[in-house]
């Protein structure tokens, strides 16, 4: 099948009420692209993608605990999404405090949170009654997206956007020159922790579609691609969000057309775009140099 043949089919499938999950996945992906573009730009310019990686992997611990509490201990309000949110925020704060007060041990703590988070998640899931597929949390599964998730994603979306609009000037300043921000009397520690918490929230938004392991790619690749064309951080955010949306759309379409796992398809597509733009921008730079 060629691409032209499958596109109308894909568009048709989006409106098919029997496979609503596909539509939900697309809406979730498109909505989440906005905070991913914004927060991803901060993460890439502040160079904290490894912190984002640890936060996303610790999410499995929270998901596992929530499932365990729900199925084994019958605490019915305990949803995996709540567990994910709690774990992400807790590890963001922990890493934040460690990086502020014990800088030389930061990488060790990040590594510990990364692996212990995952390991405890697997343990909880193993001890929960019934069959739970950990793979779908690790690598994403669009079948997991429900209508309710869309409302949660929408709400978090608005919250993240609002905070970023209110504090963009401060975030830009601490990403660019933290020392100078301290000297202007800004509470840099507060804003740094806030930024990490926003990163945690953003990660939780898309864990269901692309999975814990690959969500980090969604946070960094669109911003890295967008960075090649941007001369201002605000523009980088805008273009990264647009790129993120197109990754979701074309990735889902490809996964639908060739019956491929959605998360992996989206990420491989994003990775290819990143490599191509990186090569192209190197090439353009060299040409510019040769001309001048």
């Amino acid at each position: 099948m060629t691409a032209e043949d499958t596109m109308p089919d894909f568009l048709h499938a989006l409106s098919n009420p029997d496979i609503a999950f596909l539509r939900y996945a697309l809406i979730a992906g498109l909505m989440a692209s906005i905070p991913f573009g914004i927060i991803g730009s901060y993460v890439v310019t502040r160079r904290i993608s490894y912190i984002a990686g640890a936060i996303s992997h610790s999410v499995l611990g929270g998901i596992g605990l929530a499932i365990y509490l729900k199925t084994a201990l019958h605490i019915s309000w305990c949803d995996p999404m709540c567990g994910a949110l709690a774990a992400a925020l807790a590890s963001a704060l922990l890493i934040g405090f460690v990086s502020m007060y014990a800088k030389q041990r930061e990488d060790t703590v990040i590594g510990a949170i990364w692996s212990v988070g995952m390991a405890s998640g697997i343990l909880f899931i193993a001890k929960s009654p019934g069959y739970i597929d950990a793979m779908s949390y690790l690598f994403g599964n669009i079948l997991l997206i429900t209508r309710n998730d869309l409302f949660v994603i929408g709400g978090l979306n608005i919250l993240i956007l609002l905070i970023c609009i209110l504090f963009h000037d401060k975030f830009l300043a601490i990403c660019f020159d933290e020392e100078f921000a301290i000297l202007r009397g800004i509470n840099v520690k507060f804003y740094y922790l806030l930024l990490l918490c926003l990163t945690a929230l953003t990660i939780v938004l898309l864990v269901r579609i692309v999975g814990i392991v690959m969500v980090i790619a969604f946070l960094t690749l669109p911003a890295a691609v967008g960075g090649h064309f941007s001369r201002r951080l605000s523009f980088m955010m805008f273009i990264s969000a647009a790129i993120c949306m197109s990754f979701t759309f074309f990735g889902l379409w490809a996964s639908y057309s060739w019956d491929l796992p959605s998360g992996s398809t989206i990420i491989v597509f994003a990775g290819l775009c990143y490599i191509l733009t990186a090569i192209a921008s190197q090439f353009l730079k060299r040409r510019k140099k040769r001309i001048s």
């Binding site: 000037d169 401060k170 000297l183 951080l233 523009f235």
Partner: protein
């Protein structure tokens, strides 16, 4: 601009050591009166940057006292304009020249965006230091000298009473260096400047006082900066190249 009529910086019997090791600075007494600019010279590792960070309150003395504008450095901080070295920045960071300069006024609003008054102030300073033509450029595409100039503007937009510069001409080519000196010469008439420098020619052409830092502090009028004295400060023989910055290098 000064509140503590007379001295802007007052350091008494100050000692500083990292992690209780050998002190970097010892027995430091220093008083900078209002409108008396000075430069800080000395060998690498002698404690110049440490002294600057102590005055900014980024480091705290092990013992002794530092007062800036009559209060602690932390409280006085926002009245100081600080110019770091441009090489400390990520050269790829997507930020405009205007965005960088506006950061000098970031504490003036709690939420939202910079005001029109903030932007007006930045443009005013750009005019003053000859950077108006750069305002729409991206910070990453500027040359070293241009970046340094924008960082000076960023420090000035908050109307500081004291300007601190850390090696403003390091890694800048000599022709552009002269432009930075011209800016400092002009500013020196309006506010107190304290600059770290390794350029001894620079010392005598603008400032009357040189603060020589090599674990201890000695203050000299720059007119006395003879070869012997410099050797004494640096604690070893250094090769001296006599050069005058007004020797017409631009004609070459």
């Amino acid at each position: 601009m000064t509140e503590n009529n007379g001295s802007i910086i007052k350091i008494e019997k100050m000692r500083f050591a990292y992690y209780n090791e050998i002190p970097v600075l010892e027995d430091v007494n220093l008083e900078i009166p209002a409108n008396s600019s000075a430069c800080i010279v000395g060998p690498n590792g002698g404690g110049k940057t440490t002294l600057l960070k102590l005055i900014l309150g980024l480091l705290h003395p092990t013992s002794g006292k530092i007062e800036v504008f009559g209060s602690s450095p932390e409280k006085a901080r926002t009245k100081i304009g600080y110019v770091p070295q441009y090489t400390a920045f990520d050269p790829m960071f997507p930020v405009s020249v205007m965005d960088v300069a506006l950061m000098g006024r970031m504490e003036k609003h709690r939420f939202g965006f910079y005001s029109k008054a903030d932007r007006r102030k930045v443009l005013e300073i750009f005019d003053e230091i000859g950077a108006a033509n750069l305002k729409d450029r991206s910070f990453s595409e500027l040359s070293g000298g241009q970046r340094q100039r924008i960082l000076i503007a960023r420090a000035l937009v908050s109307d500081p009473g004291l300007l601190l510069l850390d090696e403003p001409t390091a890694n800048i080519d000599p022709a552009v260096e002269e432009q930075i000196f011209d800016i400092l010469r002009k500013l020196e008439k309006k506010l107190t400047i304290l600059t770290v420098t390794h350029d001894l020619g620079f010392v005598s052409s603008i400032f009357q006082t040189a603060i020589c830092v090599n674990r201890k502090i000695v203050i000299h009028p720059t007119s006395q900066m003879t070869g012997e004295r410099i050797q004494e400060i640096y604690g070893r023989k250094i090769r001296m190249i006599h050069h005058n910055h007004d020797c017409g290098g631009h004609n070459a």
